[in-house]
Symmetry: C2
Subunit: 549 residues, 2 copies
C-alpha cells in the first residue's frame, strides 16, 4: 500500500536546507530507495516515492516556513540534474499506476507554480548537469531556469524518440504555453534524444540564464535575492508545523479526525464523510498567530487529501466516491467567516489556497463523484464545494420518516464566490452556471440563508431531490447503473463535462495532455511486446506499426 505521509527526517532522496530566506531542495536520489521493487533510481531518476517527498517539501515550505521567499531546486549529484521518471519503473508499472503517477507529479508541479504565483514563495531551477525528460519538466515548473554552461549540462525531452510516449508532466504544454517557445523549435527539441545545451537553449527560450559552472551558485543567489526583496512573505511570522497525520484503518474503513471513508466493495464505491467543526472559531481561536494543524479547515483538508490519494492509488477498482457531511452548518459558516475576515493573514491565505488545491484534486480524479445531501448534513460554504465538485448531487426533500433530524439545508458563504477556483479559473458556481453569469450574482444575495431542498432546487443548487419514499431507490439505482458502465467511458465523460468554459495550462495538461498520454500508454507501439517503452534498455529496437490515426 502506498502511503503519502512523510517528513523531512524520513526523506531518502531530497536534501532540504535553509539559508535565511532562501531554501534549497537538492535531489540526491537513493538508487536503492525505489518505492517498488525491480529498478534502481540511477542518474537522479525519480519514482512516486521521490515525488511524494517533493510534494511534502513544497507543503512544509508553505506552512512551516513563512520566512522562505525563494526555493532553489537543484541536484546534489555531480554532472546530472535529473533523468526524469525512471523508465524501468514505468515499464513495470500497470496502466492505472502510470496514469495516476503522472497525475500526482503534475499536481505537485502546479503546486510549485501556485507557490510562485500566489504565495510569494518563488521557485528557481538551477540545472547543473544533464536534465532529461521529467527532469526538465520539473525545471519548467519553476519561475526561472538557470543553466550551467558546461559540457555536461544539457536539457532534453527525449520521450518521443526514446520511449514512444509523451513527456507526461506538462512539458509540452509548458514549452508552448508557459515559455511560449516557437512551435517548430519545440517540435525539434522534443524529437532529438541528445537534447540542447548552452546558447541555443537560451536563444530558444528553454532557459532564462546561462552561467559558467563556477558562478552558478552566485547567479542563483542573485536571482533569489531579487525574489526575497519583492516577496510578500512575512519575515517575522512563526510557521505552523504539519504534524503526522493520524489515521486508523479497520477492514474497509479509514478513520481520521474529521474524515471517514468506508468502502463497499460489492458496490464499487467509497463513502467519504466529512464532519464539521465542534467549536466556534471566534471563541476558540483568538488570532491566526496561535493556529496549529488541528484547526478544522486545515485538518479536514489534509485528511481529505490523504484519502483522495489513498483511494486513487490503492483502490482503483472503487469507481464511485460518495460525499456526505455531518455537523452544524452554523459552525462551518463561522469558520468561513473567520477565514474570510482574516484572509490577508499569510497563514489563513495558505490554508485557503491549500483547500483550493485539495478540491482541485477532486476535479481531476478519475472517479465518479456523487454528493448525498441529507438531514444532519452541513453542506455549507467550503463543504458545499464538495457537492459542487460532484458529478451529481442528491438532496433529500423533507425529513425522514421516524428520524428526528430536521430536513437538509445548504448554505452559501463568501467561500463559494472566489477563493476556491477550479483549474479553469472559475469558481464552481461560475462553472455550474456558465450560461447565466447573472444568476451567480443573484446567488450572492442568498449568502447565509438556509436553503431547503425546494429553494436549493429552485436556485439550481441541488441536482436531484427525491423525498424519503423515493430516496433509497433513486440513489441505489443511480449507484448501480454507475457501477455497470465502462470505467473508461466514465473517465472520458467526466473529464469532458467537468471543465466547461475557459481553458488554462492546468485544464490543458489534465484534460488533454493526460488523455493523449493515456492513449499512448495503452498502445502496442509503447507497451506491446515490441513497444518502445517495453524494450527500453534491452538494446533491442522497437517495431512500430506505422499506421497513423
Amino acid at each position: 500500500m502506498i502511503d503519502f505521509r512523510t517528513h523531512p527526517r524520513h526523506y531518502r532522496h531530497w536534501q532540504l536546507t535553509f539559508d535565511g530566506r532562501i531554501a534549497t531542495l537538492a535531489l540526491d536520489a537513493d538508487e536503492q530507495g525505489g518505492i517498488n521493487a525491480g529498478y534502481e533510481l540511477k542518474l537522479n531518476s525519480y519514482d512516486l516515492g521521490v515525488d511524494i517527498e517533493l510534494y511534502d517539501a513544497t507543503q512544509r515550505l508553505r506552512f512551516e516556513h513563512p520566512e522562505i521567499c525563494c526555493v532553489i531546486i537543484t541536484s546534489a549529484k555531480e554532472r546530472v540534474f535529473c533523468a526524469g521518471a525512471n523508465i524501468k519503473m514505468l515499464g513495470l508499472a500497470d496502466h492505472s499506476f502510470k496514469v495516476n503517477f503522472c497525475k500526482f507529479t503534475n499536481e505537485t508541479r502546479f503546486a510549485i507554480e501556485d507557490a510562485s504565483a500566489n504565495s510569494g514563495q518563488h521557485y528557481i531551477a538551477v540545472i547543473n548537469g544533464s536534465c532529461t525528460g521529467g527532469g526538465y519538466e520539473l525545471a519548467l515548473a519553476a519561475e526561472c531556469i538557470l543553466m550551467a554552461d558546461d559540457g555536461s549540462t544539457t536539457i532534453s525531452l527525449p520521450e518521443v524518440p526514446l520511449l514512444g510516449v509523451l513527456p507526461g508532466t506538462g512539458g509540452l504544454t509548458r514549452l508552448v504555453d508557459k515559455r511560449k517557445v516557437r512551435r517548430d523549435r519545440a517540435d525539434f527539441f522534443c524529437t532529438i534524444e541528445e537534447g540542447i545545451r548552452g546558447k541555443r537553449a537560451l536563444e530558444w527560450g528553454l532557459a532564462d540564464e546561462l552561467v559558467p559552472r563556477s558562478r552558478l551558485a552566485e547567479a542563483a543567489a542573485t536571482r533569489a535575492g531579487g525574489y526575497v526583496r519583492s516577496s510578500t512573505r512575512p519575515s517575522d511570522a512563526k510557521g505552523l508545523e504539519l504534524t503526522s497525520l493520524e489515521r486508523t484503518m479497520t477492514g474497509d474503513r479509514i478513520d481520521y479526525s474529521y474524515v471517514t471513508a468506508e468502502i463497499a466493495r460489492d458496490r464499487s464505491l467509497a463513502t467519504i464523510t466529512v464532519r464539521g467543526p465542534e467549536v466556534n472559531p471566534f471563541e476558540a481561536v483568538p488570532n491566526p498567530g496561535v493556529l496549529n494543524d488541528s484547526f478544522w479547515p486545515l485538518a479536514f483538508a489534509r485528511e481529505l487529501e490523504d484519502v483522495i490519494l489513498h483511494l486513487r492509488f490503492n483502490e482503483d477498482a472503487i469507481g464511485l466516491w460518495i460525499f456526505r457531511t455531518e455537523g452544524d452548518p452554523d459552525l462551518v459558516e463561522a469558520y468561513d467567516h473567520w477565514m474570510i475576515e482574516r484572509q490577508d493573514h499569510w497563514l489563513v491565505r495558505e490554508i485557503t489556497m491549500y483547500l483550493k488545491r485539495v478540491l482541485k484534486r477532486l476535479d481531476v480524479s478519475a472517479r465518479s463523484l456523487f454528493a448525498l445531501i441529507e438531514p444532519g448534513s452541513c453542506f455549507t460554504g467550503i463543504l458545499f464545494e464538495l457537492a459542487l465538485a460532484s458529478d451529481r448531487s442528491y438532496m433529500l426533500s423533507g425529513t425522514r420518516n421516524g428520524e428526528e433530524l430536521s430536513s437538509a439545508m445548504i448554505r452559501l458563504t463568501d467561500m463559494n464566490f472566489g477563493p476556491l477556483p477550479m483549474s479553469n479559473g472559475l469558481t464552481r458556481l461560475q462553472s455550474r452556471f456558465l450560461g447565466d453569469p447573472a444568476h451567480v450574482e443573484e446567488l450572492r444575495r442568498h449568502i447565509g440563508e438556509n436553503l431547503d431542498t425546494a429553494a436549493a432546487a429552485e436556485l439550481g443548487l441541488a441536482g436531484f431531490t427525491p423525498d424519503d419514499i423515493d430516496w433509497d431507490d433513486e440513489v441505489r439505482l443511480a449507484i448501480e447503473s454507475r457501477a455497470a458502465f465502462s470505467p473508461d467511458a466514465l473517465t472520458g465523460l467526466e473529464a469532458s463535462l467537468r471543465f466547461a468554459g475557459p481553458e488554462t495550462m492546468e485544464t490543458k495538461i489534465f484534460a488533454r495532455l493526460s488523455a493523449w498520454q493515456n492513449w499512448i500508454f495503452q498502445r502496442p507501439n509503447a507497451v506491446g511486446e515490441n513497444g518502445a517503452l517495453k524494450l527500453y534498455g534491452t538494446g533491442k529496437r522497437p517495431a512500430f506499426n506505422p499506421r497513423r490515426t
Copy 2:
C-alpha cells in the same frame, strides 16, 4: 478506396430540396447503401458515406446557393430522426478508421457552425422522431433545435451506457460549452439509455422549442423566416457551380490541376506540391460575378482538401506530408490582393472561409507536416500558410549548385494577418509568436517584401536554413528520424504543440475529446472480446475491468 467526391444527383441518403431562400436537408438513409460491407443503415444511422454526402451538401449550399439563408436539417423517415453512427459499422472498423471517421464528421459539424456564424446561412435542426447519439450531436451543431412534442421524439446520448465509448462528434463539449447545460444535468443525460423528451429537454436547455407534431413544419418555417430576414446573403446573386473534381492516379502519384501528391512508401512520406496560378487575376477576372471553380484559390483549395482526405483515409501508413510549392510569387500575391480588395463580396468571402477550413484540416491531421522552401517555390501569402501550418519548415540558403533558379523567397500578404485563423482563433503567425505579439505587428511592416532565407530566419519565419551543401543530408535525416518514431507518440506530440494559446470548442473537441475517445476506442472495455462496442447487438452483456485510472 474511399472517394470523397460526390454530387446531389448521386446522393443515396439525403434529400436536398429548396423553397425560396430556405433549403431542407432530409436524412433518408438507404439501409443497403453503406460505404462498406457488413452492416445496414437502419433507423437513419450513418456511416462515412452518409457524412460525405452531408459535407458535399453543406459545401454546395455555400457556393451554389447564395440565396439560401436557412437550412433545415430533419428526417424524411417516420418516427426516427437519426440513430447516430452505425454501431455495427463501428464495431467492424479498425482503430484508425474510427478515429478518422470521427474527425471528418466533426469537421462537417464545424463547417455547419461556420456557415451559421460567418456566412449568413443558418442551420435549424428539426427533430421529428427518436434522435440518438450522433443524431443529437448533429442537431447540436445547428443554431437552433426544434423538437416534436410527441411519443416517439426523444433525444439521447447513450454512448456511455450502451457502448462504453464517448459521444464522438462533439456532443459532450457542445452540451456544456455551447448550450451551457448544467454539468450535473449533462451527466445524467449522458448516462441514461432511454434519453429525455418534451418539457425536460426544453427546461434543461437541450432543445430550443417544443412543438406539437402537427405544427412542426409551421414552427420551422417561422424560425427560418426570421433567419431569412436577418441574413446577409445576397438575394440576387448567381451561384458558383462546383464541377466534378478531376484527378489522375498513376501508381503512387495523384495529379490535379494545381496539386500533385507523390507517395514514397519506402520513406513513409507523401510530397504534396501546390502550384501557383498562371495568370494575374486583375487581368483575367474582371469581377467576382464571373468566377467559376477554376479560379485558382478555389481550385487548389478543393484539390488540397481532396488530397488531405484521401491520404488520411486511404494512406494511413504514410506518416509524413511534405509541402512544396512551385510558381510565381507575384501572381500568388496578386490573388491575395484581388481577394482582399473584394472581401465584401459574398463569393470571395466564401472562398476565403473555405481556404480557412481546408487549412484547419491540416492542423488536425494526425500526420507530421514539413514544408520545404526551395528555389522556384512561391510560399507567399495564402501558400505561406502551408509552411506555418507545418510542424517544421526547411528553407534553402542561397541557390543550388548548377541550378538556374534564383534563391528561395517567402512573402507575407494581408492573408497572413487575419482571414485564415486556426481553430484556436488566432492566426498562424499569432500562434507562432504567442510570446511576442509585438513581433506580429512588426511583421506587418514587411508585407510584400521578398524575404530571403537570412531575412526570413531573422524574422523567425523560417525554421531550419541549411545551404545547398547541407540541405540533402539535413532534410533526409529529419525525414528518416521522423519515420523511426512511434506514430502514436508523434500524434500526441503534434496535437499538443500545434494548439498553444486560447482554447475554443474546436480545440477542445479535436485535441481533448478526440484524445479521450482515441484512448477509449483502444481499451478492452470497448473493443476487447467482451467489450461493450464489440458485444453491442449480440444480446450479451459486456464484462468490464472495473479499474479506474
